[in-house]
Symmetry: C2
Subunit: 551 residues, 2 copies
Amino acid sequence: MPSKRPTLFFLLFPFLLSISLSFPTPVNSSRTLSLHKSKLHFDDQSLTLLWPLPAQYTFGNHTLTVDPNLSLVLSGNGGASGIVKEAFQRYKDLIFKHSSKVPSTSRVVYDIQKLSIIVQSDNEELQLGVDESYSLLVGKNDEHSIIGEATIEANSVYGALRGLETLSQLCVFDYGAKTVLVSKAPWFIQDKPRFEYRGLSLDTSRHYYPIDVIKQVIESMSYAKLNVLHWHIIDEESFPLEVPRYPKLWKGAYSKWERYTVEDAQEIVSYAKMRGINVMAEVDVPGHAESWGKGYPDLWPSPSCTEPLDISKNFTFDVISGILAGMREIFPFKFFHLGGDEVNTDCWNSTPHVKQWLQDHNMTVKDGYQYFVLKAQEIALSLNWTPVNWEETFNTFPSKLNPQTVVHNWLGPGVCPKAVAKGFRCIFSNQGVWYLDHLDVPWNETYYAEPLEGIKDASEQRLVLGGEVCMWSETADTSDVQQTIWPRAAAAAERLWSDREATSAPDTKLSALNRLEYFRCLLNRRGVAAAPVRNQYARRPPVGPGSCYDQ
Amino acid sequence: MPSKRPTLFFLLFPFLLSISLSFPTPVNSSRTLSLHKSKLHFDDQSLTLLWPLPAQYTFGNHTLTVDPNLSLVLSGNGGASGIVKEAFQRYKDLIFKHSSKVPSTSRVVYDIQKLSIIVQSDNEELQLGVDESYSLLVGKNDEHSIIGEATIEANSVYGALRGLETLSQLCVFDYGAKTVLVSKAPWFIQDKPRFEYRGLSLDTSRHYYPIDVIKQVIESMSYAKLNVLHWHIIDEESFPLEVPRYPKLWKGAYSKWERYTVEDAQEIVSYAKMRGINVMAEVDVPGHAESWGKGYPDLWPSPSCTEPLDISKNFTFDVISGILAGMREIFPFKFFHLGGDEVNTDCWNSTPHVKQWLQDHNMTVKDGYQYFVLKAQEIALSLNWTPVNWEETFNTFPSKLNPQTVVHNWLGPGVCPKAVAKGFRCIFSNQGVWYLDHLDVPWNETYYAEPLEGIKDASEQRLVLGGEVCMWSETADTSDVQQTIWPRAAAAAERLWSDREATSAPDTKLSALNRLEYFRCLLNRRGVAAAPVRNQYARRPPVGPGSCYDQ
């Protein structure tokens, strides 16, 4: 759905521009400047240290102090929102990590004592396409100004969350003054995302991540304004999720402790929602499902053919229905990922009863693959879910797929152009640039990857929902997942949030690098183990002593 | 100071043993059993999954349920302790991470509904040698029992913290029953540390760690019952700490954001104290101090001789006095580390005014080194600090050192035997086994390193205060510090806490490995990025998919 612009700012904007005469002249900037790399590049006041870059912004040259006892005035139809109130407290803790401890001098009068947040809608339903736009003003409150010192206006609570993140990035602790400052005020920011789907996938089958770790990942996603956690819960290696209708399935967990209860999964969804992040679950069929048979060996064609799932038994589809019906109660997101990738059907042909069933139904194994995928799609559709499939399903039988199907690219470039040309929606995850376990991809290749590459027609461009960076866990676990995700996930996050023009010209590379190094250090300051930006291989330790801002 | 045993348990112990007839017969075990490694080794009920191993413990074969609304009854002279109350809440959050979300069935009666903590002393001063002993009982509350369901008794609040950690490790969430269970009850544990100094050093000069990250390190230390954070704040690369008396010193920080205010440092100390962890600060002189001259170039002998500090100027010692006087207000720990390692005095001789000064005072450069170290010791002593020095000072002029000096071993084995033979106290940090940045040291070499190696005489053994694993940060930063520290720091932590006999025989290796793998996964469950135990090199990612408990 197209973003509706917030109203108050829209109405006030001419007025704000006229009163801005009482402020230093704002500098219009839809692009940051190219800078020569130097030790002191962060002292360059012309650099906008925001990540991802807002759609539109102007700034001035005043420095404002921010009260550690910043108060919140929340209004509009969404004025009672617990989501916004909790987020305000979280961001307050982040912003005033230092200065809240400094004994306040009673005489100090801070420039910014109050944050006004106006939320137009009281509808807190989180879905793809929810309005994430916001306006943010940070200016000195004086007699010339009719609006507050810091004001966020948004149509939805989720837009307000994005505005809070931006505000938190403008607020920087000054170690000299021991005060939080906003430089280059006044700021006028009008922002909204370029793509509605900005995802990160997490694979909890190759390694199990404790719920605290998944929460850490979600929290850090919110700092980069990502909005979909694609939870690749199950794969051939392990089945960690509780399925009440088929309780033996989580016998496929690695151990009795590497499991997620239904309540755990609900808590993940709820925690993510508080941060404006959707959770898209995946059940990958018919391949990548060997672990299912640990609890129910009947799901295997035979003990020597443990993948793909046995197409010949009703039980197989009963189990899929049971899993999805249970998950429907956990995952309100409108998309559900059914996998469908890397299906090697060889051993269907070498398992007598499966081969017989295929013959009886006049199917080749390829027909069987199609039959299985479409049958799984029907189950998801019957639960009011829009199916997402990895691109192999589209590559193999595009005309048979349900037209609602979202094609999830991964194998390489050029798939989304084909998918949208046939009217399908598409998610871009080209493994050459957006698979985070590919450690030899430097930040700038991730950054300049363009989801709309090769798509000219505007109506086709609209079918590209966005993209997703993928965190496969063969060699990632709790010990190294965050530094494998960050900072490259942030590079993709800006690609997906910010205007194409502002982030695509080659001459932006240096300023983008500077800002990304700054954002990586911001993640570190918030306790996130983001790795150095310029290491030759991702997630490698720093090569020697030095500043976070220069690695 | 020797630990005094808690009294109530001591008095009750014969009675407890007699009522234990109403429990299954406790299995006496001062050692865990050797086990054949297998996929299911953690299901072996004979394995005690505690880390570090308590001094004495008995267990039975009952399984008890624990109420997610566990209540605290705190009594004794320390019955009003905020430290214990806060710790109880922290541990409750850790223990009931899962089960608190499961809707409670009103009919369930839990075996353990209450935790009684009896703290004998209301003295909350934290120092080296504070009594960390505790007794812990976890048993079913029935008519035969006169004491509560779970009881911790300790002489000090810090013993109570150690008991809470042990209790939290006994409490395991059962995913089937969705309840926290204590297996092998009843447990009777009498525990106290083998060494009073159980340290981890953190170097915030080669890379800066944000305060949130230092807090994460401290929190994880408490899980392994470590009790000293040796904060190597400053080195030649950067000077991040604010020094009010010499405010230009933190110009030596890497950037204006890679700094610690006095309030930050105070908060670190306070946060650590809440977890029973002392903070020992270090100011390493006269070498390792180049960064001081960024703010005060006069501290450099010359622009081309920037290390060691200029011995010829009173200003140098004024600055050291000013730094230490400021730090005395932050760090109440009775030890202060003055470094003194790796001092290359060559350029003193090539700097005319320094050479002249040495000649005037009839000193060689080696004499100058001694003069500098001793003068710094005097400053520390005058501030009521006991000086700690790296072993080079002892190796070079043992008879001149203040007899209170604590010798900090690092270069290799055999130093503590020499130091204690001369009556000095010693801290063991042999770099071959306890330097965590040595990535090629496997867990078992860290584990079997013995601080008392080569020391036979009991009175000399008592002069070994303990040991410390060192986390130098040339290639460690926020992105990889926790997985460089863990799990090997835990191996050292058990060496320092648990009885030598229980942890030293070669046939303990398999059970120690199993328990360490379990503890590493416990760290992961608590959100700590501890690395796989059995990787060829420390902090490397897992080599392939698999269970946390088998890596």
